[in-house]
Homo-oligomer: 192 residues x 2
DNA sequence: AGTTTTCTGAAACATTTGTTTCAGAAAATA
DNA sequence: TATTTTCTGAAACAAATGTTTCAGAAAACT
């Protein structure tokens, strides 16, 4: 004896994510969001909650997508070294072709200090990427394709933080060739 | 036959910079700003201009401070290699001790896509640091303290973008030891 | 089909936003 | 000191913000 929610919450969150991604948390207004989501604010507040909650879910969703992407890479059957190389090259590709770069990085700088719940999601996302990289690096060392004279944990942290600077560089200089050269240098350095 | 501006524009801009630095452009309200600057909004609009103009000047000021800092380093009389090492270690220090990290990085991610004038200031700031690093790297190569098998330009870009990732890492993980280890690894890699 | 519960749309809400107004105080010149 | 110009403080402005309200439409159940 009741009605169901009409709109697709998943599709709506996806749209909200895109708006936050482009405008940032403070730059996105409720009207920007509900317009993109194609729902009324009453529906939003009835089902999802307020702006912060919507934002949290948007970031969560972004992290979920990345997790899936990483799992797909692990199931590709390629060698550890090649998975790493692909991961780096794909990062370069995202940086130089997608309009808004990486949402996690952008949000870390905007609300990492102020929104504890979002910061926790971003930290977990970073931790997951870290484990992914550490395990691959370990395997690549055993394969003999990466020099084994450093701890995999250190290298994983180092990798993980490297792309962030490339994002910033591309925002400022819009020079894709520059990013590709840095990536090439990076790969050369770690290859045995 | 006229009155002079009462408040110190330089001190006020400094205060505005601090507010923007902490809260971001969209997160800082005019009332936040004028309260910190200890001036009335009428004075602000009479002398400096609107919020965007104040923001531009704040970022400009930040860039000026960095320029001065870099010039001071060049005049220190130390070897190119040591100036580089100090620069890296000081960056680590800023990341792990100052509450709000680097303003230029934060703003690049928040408004780099939307505010052309600010983006230009940030780009010039980045270019200046680039030249500083490139020249030092060239000198260090001539000194023989850095391996000369890469182009100084590439290494300068690579350096310049490296700290950014460390900032993000510290925001998420608040692990100073992690940053110091990455910096040590970085220094070891470039040292001959 | 009737009942009941829930969702939706439009409008309204109180605050906060960036900005402007203006009367009076302040000070630099003559 | 008188004059004139300009700055300052407080208040007001319209527009935008995040959020709530509520009447009616919609649909799941009996």
């Amino acid at each position: 004896m009741a009605r169901n929610v009409e709109f697709n919450e998943d599709q709506a969150t996806q749209k909200a994510m895109e708006v936050f991604w482009e405008k940032g948390y403070n730059g996105a207004s409720l009207r920007d969001l509900t317009e993109a989501m194609k729902i009324n604010s009453s529906s939003l507040y009835n089902t999802i909650g307020d702006k912060q909650e919507l934002f949290l879910r948007s970031v969560q969703r972004y992290a979920d997508d990345r997790k899936k992407d990483i799992k797909r890479r692990l199931e590709s059957g390629k060698s550890a070294f090649n998975i790493l190389i692909d991961y780096i090259n794909d990062a370069v590709d995202v940086i130089t072709t997608k309009k808004n770069g990486c949402m996690a990085v952008k949000m870390a700088f905007e609300v990492g200090h102020t929104d504890k719940r979002v910061a926790d999601v971003l930290k977990a996302d970073s931790d997951f990427a870290f484990s992914f990289l550490r395990d691959l690096i370990k395997s690549a060392m055993e394969e003999g394709s990466i020099a084994a004279d450093e701890e995999p944990e250190l290298l994983a942290d180092y990798f993980n933080s490297t792309w962030t600077g490339w994002y910033e560089s591309y925002i400022l200089h819009k020079d894709g060739e520059k990013i590709r050269r840095m990536a090439q240098f990076f790969i050369k350095q770690i290859s045995k």
